[in-house]
Assembly symmetry: C2
Homo-oligomer: 272 residues x 2
């Protein structure tokens, strides 16, 4: 069984976290690329707007994906945990080639779909080839360990970040979004310091990371992707009692990638 | 001639950049340590308040250094380039064991003392053992390449930083200050990307880097020192025409050090 293959011999789908604020009309490079991956004119995309409280979030993405040439786009409006057991909606997840999770609040999203048949179905079908994209909160929820919240600033401090249980599409990444715009490097560094088996990626707005079945990340969009590699990291005082104390942290590798750049999560190699 | 020794066989003095906002009364760890290095009760310290436009800046530090036990503290109020040729003031520089440059504006400071006998005298005497400390603007001016200004933010962009000619006490560092407080990681990364022979150090407020004659940095104070090591750095688009474009930059090493931590500039090794 090679990388990206499930026990059934199928190839895992793409994971596509997006940093929020992606262009939907003027220059929708990221969303168009997602539609292409999902089969272009044969693409069937399910939109999960659960992170958002706005009633129009789902329908707006539905229209965008149709305008970008997808054959179908269907909103699955899971608003409560009980709805995540609705067989009619779960059946839709069996049919689609891609799932798109909108922005909003990742804790709302994880507390509604987490540990329900919706989460299980997405994970299982992803291993069989389903492509999963998410923007902002929809990106944050993707990994095993999700950044639930935290403080802004570039320099890590003790207790700068709050973690929660994510969707589990990957355990090799921690993902943050609105990265440059909301000054989140510090909290990503703090998250990686506390979970040093994962690589941290920070996505600027209008920027997507297209992660293929071999765990190669390709950068698409107008912003950058910041990669924090803790392979050689050592730290001293994460257990400091003063929450606001600066962290002592050495040996981090840092990369800033823009469109055209790539990162191999397995070998931890960046490409310009 | 070993590291830190001049051609006369003398040992170079300490270089002590401070990130601004250092405690002067309540817990003056950094300034007390500087007085100790300068000879404690035998310390003779010249205060250069040129970066500041406030008339009381010099006299205030004079009092602080005397209260901390220095034998003498003398303000050398260079307010114009012509005053930097005043033999009486230059004679004082021959007598002191330490020089302290206050905060204010580093471009004001460099444009007044730069390339005058004051600058030359400080550099020459430093090689013979004179200790030189500076806070905020007084820290920024220390290296060969000085950060003159720039934009805030953690992620580097093309043209985020403006460089100017500094005092030249070291060509192995680029120094930034008020680091965490003013979100200056991005501009330090941009500065290092453009001058990759130097290591970048970003000093938080109330934090000093005590750099000895062997180029070992010791961290003192309540904040942190961020070290940016570009040894393995590669970059792609520093020449991008769009000033606001994100920079493609890979292979940076990043360390966050707190009091008790150290960094060897020669071997580029951090110590927790």
């Amino acid at each position: 069984m090679s990388a990206g293959q499930s026990s059934k011999g199928t190839t895992r789908g793409y994971v596509v976290p997006i940093g929020g604020g992606e262009s939907r009309r003027r220059n929708p490079t990221i969303l168009r690329r997602f539609v292409e991956i999902c089969g272009d004119s044969a693409a069937h995309i399910a939109v999960i707007p659960t992170a958002s409280k706005r009633a129009d979030t789902g329908p707006r993405y539905e229209r965008v994906f149709r305008d970008l040439g997808a054959e179908t786009a269907t909103v699955l409006p899971f608003k409560s945990r009980s709805e995540c057991y609705d067989e009619r909606n779960l059946a839709v997840l069996e049919e689609v080639s891609g799932v798109f999770m909108t922005g909003g609040n990742q804790v709302r999203l994880s507390s509604i779909i987490g540990d329900t048949p919706v989460a299980t179905r997405i994970r299982t079908r992803h291993l069989e080839g389903l492509h999963v994209a998410g923007t902002s909160a929809g990106a944050a929820i993707m990994p095993e360990h999700m950044i639930a919240g935290g403080e802004s600033g570039s320099i890590p401090r003790v207790d700068m970040v709050e973690m929660a249980h994510g969707l589990g599409l990957t355990d090799r990444l921690v993902i943050d979004q609105h990265f440059r715009q909301r000054e989140r490097l510090g909290r990503l560094l703090a998250a990686v310091a506390a979970n040093p088996t994962a690589v941290g990626i920070g996505l600027d707005e209008d920027t997507g990371a297209f992660i293929d079945a071999n765990d190669l990340i390709e950068v698409v969009g107008s912003g950058g992707v910041t990669v924090v590699d803790p392979t050689d990291m050592e730290h001293a005082n994460l257990d400091d009692e003063d929450d606001d104390a600066p962290i002592s942290l050495i040996g981090l590798r840092l990369h800033f990638l823009i469109e055209g750049g790539a990162y191999d999560i397995t070998t931890r190699t960046p490409y310009l």
